[in-house]
């Protein structure tokens, strides 16, 4: 009987000790909930207004999923390596995940492999060159850039149903090194080709290909000059009509000079910066008309009002561009859902941090075609104008 009693007591003691451990652990563990994740956002010119919706989305997801966003202050990146080194720094300083929009999609395989081994990686806006074996270790959240290109082309065609044979088309973009830019061009030309239209020139605003710089400052493959030129030439653009920004003056100057030399009727901008530059150029022409400058050729209607000198179409997201659209400087604008992109990027990053073994999956976000009339349509209001502070 003594032995049984002994066993009984031992059993009860073990139960009690277990109970103590479990409840103490839950008390302590429960109160601290999940870990807070540090997510760094690395994008070019991070303080620019064009990121407002994107960051709003990221912050929103951070609040929902118990993460902290660190928006790294940046200016222009010289090249992809520049951007990757900033990302590396962030990881060294304790970032659990990195959300980034790459400035170049070429030669990125090694760097992406390296990074996705050290931290969770979410690419936005554009995808990049990667090895097959690291699929699932990072994710790309971007709009369907090819379709955006097509949408741009369609917007142009919509307003020129009779034909584009007499219209000159100019293309302007910030960089040609990203897959996004290339896909948009593909989409655009696929549509234009139907009407047998082509571009007169293509301006690349990015100053990286500056001849003043020492050679070897950038990788051969990232030189928009080489593969970019090849790419553009495949669309029928001759070498001299691929205009790279080698001037020290600001971007508007290049556009002005090019336009003066070879004016166009339609200007298609492939991204937010180039769209803004285009719209500002348009405003300049208007101003010049008002001040009766002879810098440009104008056409006026019977009331003496200036007939639109250029039709500007483009992809954009910043409030500036929206207001240009609202004021009629831009005809039609393709707006990707930047808020959603930022939100989903953070959401996926946190999901990966919590379940390290499940693969990350890409996601495509929507875009909308907005023109001057539809800016204030009820649904578009919420889409275009974020209410978050």
């Amino acid at each position: 009987m003594n032995k049984n009693r002994h066993l009984f007591f031992i059993g009860v003691t073990i139960l009690l000790v277990l109970g103590i451990i479990v409840s103490a652990y839950s008390l302590v563990g429960g109160s601290s909930e999940d870990d807070v994740y540090n997510i760094s956002v690395v994008v070019e010119n991070s303080q620019s207004e064009k990121w407002t919706s994107f960051i709003a989305g990221a912050e929103s997801a951070a609040a929902d999923y118990n993460a902290i966003i660190d928006l790294v202050t940046t200016s222009e990146f010289e090249n992809g390596d520049d951007e990757f080194s900033v990302i590396d720094d962030q990881i060294i300083n304790g970032a659990n995940a990195v959300v980034t929009e790459l400035v170049s999609s070429e030669g990125t395989a090694e760097s992406i492999k390296d990074i996705s081994g050290k931290a969770v990686l979410a690419l936005t806006g554009t995808d990049a060159q990667t090895d097959v074996d690291i699929e699932g270790k990072f994710a790309t959240i971007a709009p369907d850039n090819y379709q955006i290109g097509r949408a741009l082309g369609n917007e142009v065609l919509l307003r020129h149903q009779t034909g584009l044979s007499e219209k000159r088309i100019g293309i302007i973009c910030n960089r040609i090194t990203t897959n996004a830019a290339k896909e948009r061009l593909n989409g655009l030309f696929d549509v234009l080709r139907v009407k047998k239209a082509t571009a007169v020139w293509c301006i690349i605003l990015d100053k990286k290909a500056d001849a003043d710089k020492e050679p070897g400052n950038y990788e051969e493959s990232e030189n928009s000059g080489q593969t970019g030129r090849d790419f553009l030439q495949s669309f029928g653009l001759s070498g001299e009509n691929i205009i790279e920004n080698t001037l020290p003056e600001e971007n508007g100057y290049l556009v002005k000079e090019t336009y003066k030399e070879k004016p166009v009727d339609i200007l298609v901008a492939l991204d937010d910066e180039s769209l803004q530059t285009s719209a500002e150029f348009f405003a300049e022409i208007e101003n010049a008309f008002k001040t009766k400058s002879t810098a440009y050729k104008y056409e006026t209607d019977k009331d003496g009002k200036l007939i639109r000198p250029i039709e500007i179409y483009g992809e954009g997201t910043s409030l500036r561009n929206i207001s240009y659209l609202d004021r009629g400087k831009i005809v039609s604008m393709i707006v990707p859902n930047e808020f959603r992109m930022g939100y989903v990027a953070v959401e996926k990053a946190v999901a990966k941090l919590e379940h390290k073994l499940s693969p990350m999956e890409d996601e495509t976000v929507e875009y909308r075609v907005i023109n001057q009339e539809s800016v204030f349509k009820d649904d578009n209001q919420k889409y275009l104008f974020t209410t978050m502070q």
Partner: protein, 567 residues
């Protein structure tokens, strides 16, 4: 008890929500009231009195705007065709605005008497080349009568309220709680403010506005997307807006979970402490007691060499030690008894032996034969009668305890015989106090001493050998002394005489002083016995010390059994 606590907790949280909600509703109502007053002031105090043909509204409208510009984005008056009549801050009307198609405009005309509050929207009215900003506003509009030189025209007075004000008001409330939140909808279920508005429009988040709009003021428990929550609804007056507070029920459980675990923790700790205490008591007290009991049982069973358990608390240990000591004492006493019984037996045996000392008998009979041969018939008869008496006492019917009278007679008999044998080589004196004769003694104690007195004392003295037998009572003691004036006992031998040492030679009857001494002590106790004093060439005195015990049958029986030793 746990459930009661849960219920109370819930009640408290609900009350809290109600309080917070009604306060917020009051704030919103205050704000809206102020805005309405601005519109009223503008209309009733200014517009009604104005002739728009000749007068200009700008200064008044600016004044009113300036006074309230923290909460206003714009103040504007439009004609019924959508043309801007006056606005503050001053701005140009946007061409593409299509004022007449905007909601606030059409609603104002639908119900002309009332003020109308719109849902939040981006202001689309004015054009400013330098200002690229856009404002989220809630439009307060009303149809107004305008006087144009006596001709009445319709217009719409618009107060565009800064949405930020309401937003900040509600964000402030929402920040206070973690998973509890508050949102604002119109009576139709259209969203005015929700902390996750963006997520809802993206489709990431969902909220049951339609259902909430249907609720009257009060507290409801509902289930939405698999989650149970407490919903409190309060209506904002005039607008019909509903302020809805949502508290997920798991909020309680989070706190409850902590409490539950805390309770379990405390209970478990207490239980563990009790068990430890119990074990402590058992280990220190109960078990030792049980072990002690076991060892006592062992001892009772007769395993005399089993040790008593010593251990446990001080008290139990003390018990054990005492018991052990008692046991040891008993063992010792038992051993003593055995030894003593053995002694007695030996002594008795010796005494028995002395009763029929062959040498003595042989010598005496020899003397008698010699007397008869020498025709000393009277001496022979004397010798034989003395001998007979001596043996009669020696036997004493087998008794060990006899009256001192008999013992003395025995001594006398012996001395008479010896006197004849030793041809009166010595003189015998008797100084016996008659009162001692009536007391008891162990038999055969005097004769061995007399024997010693003869053989060691006076035998080799040529003349004047003298032996005195003295007996007297002193209080409760009886002293019998045998004094001789012989050679005495050599001082080396003296201490050994009463021991069993071989240095004390035995002669004569072979009984010896030690035997006598032991027999006396065995019967009467250690305080009695023999005492020897001797001076070489002077003499020896041997004193027998006895207790004075009257020779009653009772006393005799008692002494016969065991003596005085164990009383």
């Amino acid at each position: 008890m746990y459930q009661r606590f849960e219920g109370r907790s819930r009640q408290m949280m609900t009350d809290n929500s109600l309080l917070m909600l009604s306060r917020t509703t009051d704030s919103i109502e205050d704000y809206l009231r102020r805005m309405r007053r601005i519109s009223d002031a503008m209309y009733y105090d200014i517009i009604k009195d104005m002739d728009f043909e000749s007068e200009d509204l700008s200064s008044e409208i600016n004044l009113l705007y300036e006074a309230n510009k923290d909460n206003l984005v714009s103040f504007a008056l439009f004609a019924s065709n959508g043309d801007l009549i006056s606005a503050a801050p001053i701005a140009l009307q946007k061409e593409m605005a299509n004022v007449t198609e905007q909601n606030w405009f059409t609603t104002a005309f639908n119900k002309m008497e009332n003020l109308h509050f719109s849902t939040p929207h981006v202001q689309n009215l004015f054009m400013d080349e330098t200002d690229y900003r856009y404002h989220w506003v809630i439009s307060l509009s009303r149809a107004v009568d305008l006087n144009y030189g006596g001709k009445p025209r319709m217009g719409v007075l618009l107060v565009d309220m800064n949405y930020e004000t309401i937003q900040q008001m509600l964000e402030g409330v929402n920040q206070a709680n973690s998973s509890q939140y508050v949102y604002l909808i119109t009576g139709n279920g259209q969203l005015i403010y929700h902390p996750k508005a963006e997520q809802i429009s993206l489709g990431i988040h969902d909220e049951n506005f339609a259902q909430a709009a249907g609720y009257d003021d009060g507290v409801y428990e509902e289930s939405f997307e698999g989650e149970k929550r407490i919903v409190v609804v309060d209506t904002v007056s005039y607008t019909g807006w509903k302020l809805v507070s949502v508290t997920p029920v798991r909020n309680f459980y989070l706190g409850m979970k902590s409490t539950r675990y805390f309770v379990i923790l405390v209970a478990a700790l207490t239980g563990l402490a009790m068990i430890i205490m119990n074990q402590l008591v058992t280990w220190r007290v109960t078990e030792p007691l049980l072990k002690l009991n076991e060892s006592i049982k062992n001892m009772e069973a007769g395993n005399s060499d089993s040790a008593i358990y010593i251990g446990g608390t001080y008290e139990v240990e003390h018990l054990g030690k005492t018991l052990q000591r008692s046991l040891d004492e008993i063992n010792r006493l038992m051993k003593d008894i055995v030894i003593e019984q053995e002694e007695k037996r030996k002594s008795e045996l010796d005494a028995l032996q002395s009763q029929i000392n062959p040498h003595f008998l042989y010598n005496t009979l020899d003397s008698i034969v010699w007397m008869i041969e020498g025709e000393h018939y009277e001496e022979a008869v004397f010798m034989i009668t003395q001998l007979a008496s001596l043996f009669r006492v020696s036997l004493s019917k087998g008794r060990t305890i006899i009256p001192i009278e008999d013992e003395l007679r025995h001594a006398e008999n012996y001395m008479n015989i010896q006197k004849v044998r030793f041809k009166n080589a010595f003189v015998m004196n008797y100084e016996i106090d008659p009162e001692i004769k009536g007391c008891l003694t162990v038999k055969l104690i005097v004769q061995p001493i007399l024997e010693n007195a003869i053989y060691y004392g006076v035998k080799n003295m040529d003349e004047d050998g003298e032996i005195t037998l003295k007996g007297y009572r002193k209080d409760d003691d009886i002293f019998i002394e045998v004094i001789d004036n012989g050679y005495g006992i050599p001082s080396e031998k003296l201490p050994y005489l009463l021991t069993e040492d071989k240095r004390a030679s035995k002669n004569g009857s072979g009984v010896g002083l030690i035997n006598v001494h032991k027999r006396i002590q065995l019967r009467f106790g250690d305080s009695y016995g023999l005492h020897i004093e001797s001076e070489p060439d002077e003499g020896t005195k041997v004193t027998i010390h006895l207790p004075a015990i009257p020779a009653t049958e009772e006393n005799r029986e008692m002494l016969e059994k065991g003596g005085l030793r164990y009383e």
